[in-house]
Symmetry: C2
Subunit: 556 residues, 2 copies
């Protein structure tokens, strides 16, 4: 790397959905913006989360100065624990962001306690050659900050995730003035959120959801059950306020729902009306029309509280006819099938379900639509533009939009995918060499188990412990498997043909199937997760090894 | 079955998406309405199509009098070949519907030539105790008919798939008058399409797409590439007319696109302007701004023409910067990921892509929204209502709507899933016994191979030929697999450990990977399909056996 070159190194989130991570390098100084995770899809069986490969940073560990976080969503902070296990540098973020990071760090044993440095919008910090100003933006999680990073070559603005909410629930507006000021003085490079580039117009304010939630309170005869992201503090605030107004008590279900609401409450970000909380064990004994339950698991994750409620397998809540279930969240692309499966189960319980595409929607996006993206482009009017946070189709469209909006002041746009780098010096900007990127799959144990240490399951690991494929044939009509499940394994030495261990393992799988309800057996997602959890526990106990377990369920 | 009982037996499409099939029985006479297929999702690896289990009909074969088809979509006719291989009864349908059935029958060797009986809207036929009137309705495929079936106990109306298009392109309106007349005289049971129960308001007319397609003609600088369902004759007509108007020639790509347009043209349902057609081999040699290409494969099916164009692997079309690609079709739930993958590939080719949720949409649904469903309920005002065509959540919501709309004239609604039966006699209606239903998976060979005889792969078959799992580890970043692929098999005797055949098979998979482009290797859907096709061909040639092949691709 020649001196006086600014290098932009996207390590995740460009050309893919999630696991956002981007490094800025000037000489021997590197700062990293966000370290997120990606939710694995069905193609990555048996894996809980996916984080970026941090090899580039590890290889340059003496240069890495800090990790700077924009907000507390998992696709921005879900990889922080892994990051810190490899790189012990200070972490900057707002109070809520750091609290959400700490919650996850508590689950892991890090060798050294990390240094967390709290910042607030308006703060400025200097890290090596970088002077960072934190700018308040509006998003579906509170305390989100954009970054204006002054470097020796000019200012780099990273928008974080944002929408232009003119009426945010906490009355802390998007700081357009600071964006305008930087734009006036001149910005070298803009990195802007591309999530909603396909949506025309403006995204509605979070407040627009209020009347629609209220409508649910008017219509519900029995229990009113909401599912939303636990990090949607403003959504939760609206539900709490409406519950107080309508004389209903509120119970929270799901681990993340319980811990995040507590964190937000402690930070003064969530106001909990007096005497409104209901303990999980009191939900079913309270009058149905006096109860609201807020449950985590909007995406149909098989072991989430909501998914278990759907198949009537949750100890604290049983859905009855007359209850209303409201899914107040987007469907993350790829999750449609498990979500619809969950909704079908809830419909079979006789509940009225409000979700997704219904009009008016009970959810608004946290990301700005095209007109909002145009405003940011117009305000910042950068010399170079590099769209972030999106698949290739979205980045390409955002780049096209920038050329259309900014005009001659914009010298060049760069549509980059993770691993492709941008180099800027006094002569201009150009594509640089590519760096190692990739996905590291992590298996942290099913949510119901005692949380175990992280085990990094990358290719090396796979070749050490091998993998195990339990193969189960379930009849779609009867929900039964008639023969003992097959187990196929490779590279996992303990499962020799004819061994007692293999025979016992098949019995374990068989028992899991027997102990599941017909409804559960009809839901391959739940069954995959249950089989995996039980078999993993069995193998770990018997052999102290942790092969990758990928249940294959054949519905016939 | 007691005499004088009307039995309604849904064999597919209730509580699931696709493979619509429903039997009506009175005494010893059964008629069957539609015999559709379901597109398998990723969970059913290695299977091409899924059709209902016709055991109930086969067990009562002496009673089955006819198969009555409502329209020519695959989810209503895709199982006809399998149906006829098990039950040789006359098939009733409109000219286009039967032509589309014949096209598929030509691909299979049936023992006896089936009897196809062409009907037109307004026709009445008597089949045993059933008098069927065919009623013209509007839908995304032309020549769709609803059925009014007069039985000894009263009239049963089956809406087929429909929307209330006030301005259909062929000026053949939805026959509201006949619906009104039956409603006036009294209808025993209504079976109505639930597909769009979640959509508020009215579905737009097919004509609404016209100006949006025209806008694409105005904006496209290079080639204009449309992808839509080959059965959307009206969509194709609009594209052909616009092409003529704008001086562009039209090439069709994809087997179904070529054969369906020919069928529709021969039946006088598609008007092809003079001298407009371009042969596939002439597409690339014609001036880009004088060309329209219509390509099948809207759902990102890995081996479809459009998916191959996306990875630049189609002999007749190569997408270049400046070309515009328009996906003029809905995303079928569950297909979002492969479709977005395809769009990302097309964006990497530098094309401008118009799709899905963009405003204004370049696609309108063929199914009626809530207000249309209400009109049909109001017109028919049946004594009993049983929603069809939908997952449980949709059926339940449609039933709820019916109670709200029809009022006291409606005695009862029945939310049924496939296999649950309804019995009606002079005393009323009630749930009857359940019958055997299920999914039968069919592997008909990849679209690029010479079409082979159908092989029914159900559980029996699986236990005969076993299954084979090629396991490939591809690095996401380098797109390479570093070791020889693993192959795991069960119940397939030819693959013994250490055998030459197994070693050769691993080489086959390895070669498939080597011969694929980096872009293809990055697309697990394409790779699964290619590995499967090559390995299947190899195994069939070497052993004459056809195990179920399910490639497992691990991206690391």
């Amino acid at each position: 790397m020649p001196e006086k070159t600014l290098q932009v190194v996207p390590l995740g989130g460009l050309g893919e959905f999630g696991m956002n991570c981007l490094a800025l390098r000037y000489g021997d100084d590197i700062i990293v913006i966000d370290a997120g995770m990606m939710f694995p899809d069905a193609e990555l069986f048996g894996v809980d989360v996916v984080v970026p490969d941090f090899s580039y940073l590890v290889d340059n560990r003496e240069c890495v100065r800090a990790l700077v976080l924009t907000h507390g969503h998992e696709d921005h902070i879900g990889g922080v624990a892994i990051f810190l296990s490899q790189l012990n540098v200070p972490v900057y973020g707002t109070a809520l962001t750091l609290a959400l990071v700490e919650r996850r760090l508590d689950e892991h044993d890090l060798d050294e306690k990390p240094t967390l440095k709290e910042v607030a919008p308006g703060d400025k910090v200097e890290i090596g050659p970088f002077a960072i100003e934190f700018i308040n933006v509006t998003h579906s999680i509170v305390s989100t900050v954009a970054l204006a990073i002054t470097t020796p070559l000019g200012v780099v603005i990273h928008t974080a995730d944002f929408k232009l909410d003119p009426t945010p629930l906490d009355n802390k507006p998007f700081d357009l003035h600071t964006f305008a000021e930087y734009g006036k003085r001149g910005v070298l490079l803009l990195l802007s959120d591309s999530t909603n580039i396909d949506r025309p117009g403006f995204t509605e304010s979070e407040r627009a959801v209020g009347p629609r939630l209220e409508d649910c309170f008017h219509r519900a005869e029995g229990r009113l059950i909401f599912s939303c992201f636990s990090s949607s503090i403003h959504r939760l605030q609206q539900i709490l306020d409406l519950a107080a107004e309508h004389g209903r008590k509120v119970g929270f279900l799901g681990r993340s729902m319980l811990s995040v609401t507590e964190i937000a409450h402690n930070l003064g970000l969530l106001q909990v009306p007096d005497n409104i909380l209901l303990r999980p064990q009191d939900i079913m004994s309270s009058p149905a029309d006096k109860v609201v339950v807020v449950v985590s698991g909007t995406q149909g994750e098989p072991m989430s509280a909501m998914a278990r409620v759907a198949v009537d397998n949750h100890k604290s809540l049983s859905v009855r006819p007359g209850d209303m279930v409201v899914l107040s969240a987007r469907m993350i692309p790829g999750n449609e099938k498990p979500i619809y499966r969950m909704i079908n189960h809830l419909a079979r319980r006789g509940s009225d379900i409000v979700y997704g595409s219904m009009n008016p929607p009970v959810h608004v996006s946290g990301h700005g639509s095209v007109e909002e993206l145009k405003i940011i482009l117009s305000l910042v009017r950068p010399r170079y533009f590099m769209p972030v946070h999106g698949e290739y189709r979205q980045l390409a469209r955002h780049a096209h939009l920038a050329k259309h909006v900014v005009g001659s002041r914009l010298q060049e746009v760069f549509v980059m995918e993770s691993g492709q780098t941008l180099e800027i010096d006094e002569h201009g900007a150009r594509r640089g060499q590519t760096v190692t990127v990739g996905r590291v799959c992590i298996d942290s144990g099913s949510i119901d188990e005692v949380v175990e240490d992280l085990v990094i399951r990358d290719r090396r690991h796979l070749s050490e412990d091998g993998f195990v494929l339990p193969i189960i044939t379930i009849s779609k009509s009867t929900g039964k498997n008639e023969t003992l499940p097959e187990i196929v394994s490779r590279g996992f030495v303990s499962f020799e043909e004819g061994s007692d261990l293999l025979r016992d393992a098949r019995q374990v799988v068989s028992r899991t199937l027997e102990n599941s309800s017909a409804e559960e057996r009809g839901d391959w997602g739940v069954m995959q997760e249950k089989v995996r959890a039980d078999l993993k526990r069995f193998i770990a106990k018997q052999t102290s090894r942790r092969p990758l377990i990928m249940p294959v369920i054949l519905e016939v």
